[in-house]
C-alpha cells in the first residue's frame, strides 16, 4: 500500500513537470488582454482579427457561462484580478457593474479618441453602454427581432410570402393557414414559433413597458401588458398557431437554454418564427433552408425590443488604458464589417449597415433580406428597467407568474397583478437596504416606498 502511494506520487510529480513544460510561453513583448464574453466561433474570429490588426496585443477570451456570467466578472474584479474587458448584456447588467464599482467611466477617454457614441451608434442600444449620461461601455452589436419565414413551407402551402407592414389579424390568418395537422388531428407544423421568454417583446409591441415613472413602479399590470400576455396565451390556446408547452415538449427532445426554437425552426417544424439576425449563426449550418424575413406586425406608436452587448473596461485593470484600444476597435470599420459578415446580430455603428456588403454578403448571396434587419432597428427601444429592484429578482417573480399563464393555469390579468404586487414588495425591501436609492426614490416620487 505504501509502495502504491509512493509510486502514484512519483507519477504525479512527473506529470506536473510535463504540465510545467507544455505551458505556453507568454508571447514576447506583447501586452496581454483578457476579455470575458460568451465563447463561440464568432467571438473567436473577432479576437483574432483584433490581434491581427494590433500586433502589439495578445487578446484572449475567458468564457462566460450562460449561467453565472456576471458574478464571475464581479467577483474577479472586486478581488483585483478581473479581466481587462467584459461584456454587459443589458442595461440593468451595466447598472449592476457600475454600482458594484467595477465599470470604468470612459466618457472622457472616448471623447479624447474622437469617438462620439451618441452620434454613431444606434440609439436603441445606447442604454447598454451609457448610464445616467456617463459612458461605460461600447456596444458590440445590436439586435432587433423580426419574423423568420421558411419559404419552402409557404411554397408547399401555396401561400405568398408575407410582406410588411401588416397587422396581427393578417398575421393570425397566415399563421393558421400554415398550421398543418396530421390525420389524427395532431399539429405537425406550426404557423408560428416563439420562445415564451419573448414576453417582454410582446409587452413592448402592445405599447406597454416593464416599469413606469422612471422605474419607480412596475408596469406589468398595465392594460397593455395584460393584453400582450393574453395575446401570447391566445396564440397557443385560442388560435392554435403557436406550440403550447406540451406541444413544444412533444415536438422534439431537446430544449432549455432558450435555443430550442431555433432548432425547431431549422428542422422545419414551423413556417414562421420570432427571432433575430443572429439566428443565422446557427441556421447557416442547416443545409437547404430557404429563408425570408418580415417585420413583426406593429401598431403605429409602439416599439420593438432592442438588445445586445456592450464591452466594458475593468476599472481596476492595470492595463485599462490599453484595453480602451479594444473599444476603439469595436467602433471601427473592420470589426463592424466582421459582425455583419458573421451575422452576429447587426453592427452597432449605424454607418456600416448602409454599405453594399451589408445588404448583399458575397459569401451568402441567398441572404437577400438584410435591409429588413436594418430597418427594424429604427423602431427599436431598449428595455426599460428599474434601479429600485434587482433585475434578477424581478425576473424570478415574473417567470413564476408567467409560467402559470403559459400552462393555462392562471389568467394573464391575475398573474401580472400578482407579479406587480410582489415586485413592489421587493422594491420596498431594496429601498430599505439601500439609503442612496431611498433618497433617489423620494426625490422622484415624494414617497418612501411603492404602495
Amino acid at each position: 500500500m505504501k509502495a502504491f502511494f509512493l509510486i502514484t506520487f512519483c507519477v504525479l510529480v512527473l506529470l506536473s513537470v510535463v504540465a510545467w513544460q507544455i505551458q505556453p510561453a507568454p508571447p514576447e513583448g506583447k501586452i496581454p488582454l483578457v476579455w470575458v464574453s460568451d465563447d463561440n466561433p464568432a467571438r473567436r474570429e473577432q479576437i483574432s482579427l483584433f490581434n491581427d490588426l494590433h500586433p502589439n496585443y495578445d487578446l484572449r477570451l475567458d468564457p462566460r457561462a450562460n449561467q453565472a456570467g456576471m458574478e464571475k466578472v464581479m467577483l474577479q474584479c472586486l478581488a483585483g484580478v478581473g479581466p481587462d474587458l467584459f461584456d454587459a448584456y443589458s442595461p440593468s447588467e451595466l447598472d449592476a457593474f457600475v454600482r458594484s464599482g467595477v465599470a470604468w467611466d470612459v466618457t472622457e477617454e472616448l471623447a479624447k479618441r474622437a469617438i462620439d457614441m451618441e452620434k454613431d451608434v444606434w440609439p436603441a442600444i445606447l442604454p447598454t453602454g451609457i448610464r445616467e449620461g456617463r459612458v461605460y461601455g461600447f456596444p458590440a452589436n445590436v439586435a432587433v427581432d423580426a419574423i423568420w419565414v421558411n419559404k419552402d413551407l409557404f411554397d408547399a402551402a401555396g401561400e405568398p410570402y408575407p410582406e410588411g407592414p401588416w397587422t396581427w389579424e393578417e398575421f393570425i390568418e397566415v399563421a393558421q393557414r400554415l398550421t398543418l395537422r396530421d390525420e389524427r388531428g395532431r399539429i405537425k407544423q406550426f404557423g408560428f414559433l416563439c420562445d415564451w421568454w419573448q414576453w417582454p417583446q410582446f409587452i413592448m409591441l402592445f405599447g406597454g413597458q416593464l416599469y413606469a415613472e422612471n422605474g419607480t413602479r412596475s408596469a406589468v399590470d398595465s392594460p397593455e401588458a395584460i393584453e400582450a400576455i393574453q395575446f401570447m396565451h391566445d396564440l397557443m390556446y385560442v388560435h392554435h398557431v403557436m406550440p403550447t408547452p406540451v406541444d413544444e415538449a412533444t415536438m422534439a427532445t431537446a430544449g432549455g437554454w432558450g435555443s430550442g426554437t431555433i432548432t425547431y425552426f431549422g428542422a422545419g417544424k414551423g413556417a414562421m418564427a420570432l427571432g433575430g439576425r443572429w439566428w443565422l449563426c446557427t441556421l447557416r449550418d442547416y443545409e437547404g433552408l430557404n429563408l425570408g424575413v418580415v417585420e413583426i406586425p406593429r401598431m403605429s406608436d409602439t416599439a420593438y425590443r432592442a438588445y445586445g452587448r456592450a464591452t466594458v473596461v475593468n476599472r481596476y485593470s492595470p492595463r485599462r488604458e490599453q484595453a480602451l484600444d479594444f473599444l476603439v476597435y469595436e467602433a471601427g470599420k473592420d470589426y463592424n464589417d466582421l459582425i455583419n459578415r458573421q451575422a452576429d446580430a447587426v453592427a452597432a455603428v449605424m454607418r456600416y449597415n448602409y454599405t453594399p456588403e451589408f445588404l448583399q454578403n458575397p459569401e451568402h448571396p441567398e441572404e437577400d433580406y438584410n435591409e429588413v434587419w436594418r430597418d427594424v432597428i429604427r423602431y427599436g427601444e431598449a428595455d426599460v428597467w428599474s434601479p429600485f429592484v434587482n433585475g434578477q429578482a424581478a425576473n424570478r417573480i415574473l417567470t413564476k407568474q408567467l409560467d402559470l399563464v403559459k400552462n393555462d393555469q392562471k389568467s394573464a390579468a391575475d398573474a401580472l397583478r400578482d407579479a406587480a404586487r410582489e415586485i413592489h414588495k421587493e422594491m420596498a425591501k431594496t429601498l430599505e437596504r439601500d439609503p442612496s436609492l431611498r433618497i433617489k426614490y423620494y426625490r422622484l416620487t415624494g414617497k418612501e416606498r411603492p404602495e
Binding site: L12, D38, N40, A65, L75, V81, A252, D344
Partner: protein, 290 residues
C-alpha cells in the same frame, strides 16, 4: 427492504449445494441484472448515437443517424484545444484524488483507531462543516486564493478540493468495521501507529479507498463552478469549461457536445473498470491471513 425479503422467500427447496439450485440462482440473477442494466445503457447509447449525427437529426426521434458523421469527433479537436482540456481535467482530478485519499485516510485513522480526549466532539464539529452548502464558502475561498496568488494556476484548482471532511467521514466508517483485535495484536508486537496505519489498516481499507478515489476523481473531473471563476488562461481550462464553446446563445452544437461528452467519460470508464475489481468480497482478510 421488501425486495430482499422476496428473494429470501423464493429460496427453492433444494439445498444450497445442489447444482440445479446454484445454476438456477445464477441464471435468475443474470436475467434480472441484464434487464436492469439495459435501462442504464439506453442514455449512453443514445448519447453515442447522437454524437455521430448531423446537427439537424439530433433533435429527431430516430435513434440512428441517416449519415454517420464520424468527423464530429475530429471537429471537436479542430474547434478547441480538446487534448489540452483533457490533460488538465485528468491531471487536476488525479492530484486531488491522491491528496484526498492520503490525508483523509490519515485523519480517519486518528478518528477511528486512536483514542484521545475530545475525539468525538472534534469529529462532530468536523462533520458539521459538510453541512454548509458549498456556494457560500465559494466567495471567501476565492478571496483566500487571491491572497495566496493562486488564481489561474493548477495549484489553485487542486488544493482547495484536496482536503475535506467527506473522505475522512467515509474512511472512518470503513475503519470502524475492522476488528480492533488486529491493531491491538500489532501494538503488542511493538508496532508504532504509523506502521499499524500503513501495514494493517490501509490494506484492509482498500475497498473504502477505491470508493473514495472513484468519488473524488469523478467529482473533480466534472467540477464546473470553481474552475470557471478561478481560471483565465486557455491552457488551464478543464473539460467542463472548454465545452461551453459548443453551447453558446448563438447555437448549440448538440452533436459536438455529445461527441465531446463521449470522449469525456472514456477515462472515467477506464478508471472505474480498473478500480472496481478491488471491491471484492473477502480479498482483504485473505491478504492479512496469508
Amino acid at each position: 427492504m421488501s425486495a430482499i425479503g422476496k428473494v429470501a422467500e423464493r429460496k427453492p427447496q433444494a439445498g444450497p449445494s445442489s447444482w440445479w439450485y446454484r445454476r438456477g440462482r445464477f441464471t435468475a440473477s443474470h436475467i434480472a441484472l441484464t434487464i436492469m442494466a439495459a435501462t442504464m445503457l439506453v442514455p449512453f447509447s443514445w448519447m453515442v448515437l447522437a454524437s455521430f449525427k448531423p446537427l439537424q437529426e439530433v433533435e429527431q426521434f430516430n435513434p440512428f443517424p441517416s449519415v454517420w458523421r464520424f468527423d464530429n469527433y475530429l471537429r471537436v479537436f479542430e474547434q478547441v484545444p480538446f487534448a489540452r482540456y483533457y490533460f488538465n481535467s485528468i491531471f487536476v482530478a488525479a492530484w486531488v484524488t491522491f491528496l484526498q485519499c492520503l490525508t483523509s485516510a490519515m485523519a480517519a485513522y486518528a478518528f477511528a483507531r486512536l483514542r484521545w480526549r475530545g475525539r468525538d466532539i472534534v469529529f462532530r464539529l468536523y462533520l458539521a462543516t459538510l453541512m454548509i452548502p458549498g456556494v457560500v464558502v465559494m466567495i471567501p475561498n476565492y478571496t483566500v486564493m487571491v491572497k495566496l496568488h493562486l488564481l489561474d494556476s493548477y495549484v489553485g484548482l487542486v488544493v482547495p478540493a484536496a482536503f475535506g471532511a467527506f473522505g475522512t467521514f467515509l474512511l472512518r466508517q470503513f475503519m470502524l468495521t475492522i476488528p480492533p483485535s488486529l491493531d491491538e495484536a500489532a501494538e503488542i508486537d511493538g508496532a508504532t501507529p504509523w506502521q499499524i496505519f500503513w501495514d494493517v489498516i490501509m490494506p484492509l481499507c482498500r475497498a473504502g479507498l477505491v470508493t473514495l478515489a472513484i468519488f473524488t476523481f469523478l467529482g473533480n473531473y466534472g467540477s464546473f463552478f470553481w474552475p470557471l471563476i478561478l481560471v483565465k488562461s486557455e491552457h488551464l481550462r478543464t473539460l467542463p469549461i472548454g465545452m461551453l464553446y459548443f453551447d453558446s446563445v448563438y447555437g448549440r452544437q448538440t452533436n459536438l457536445i455529445m461527441a465531446a461528452s463521449v470522449m469525456n467519460i472514456v477515462p472515467l470508464i477506464i478508471l472505474f473498470v480498473a478500480a472496481q475489481r478491488h471491491i471484492v468480497r473477502g480479498v482483504q482478510l485473505g491478504a492479512i491471513k496469508g
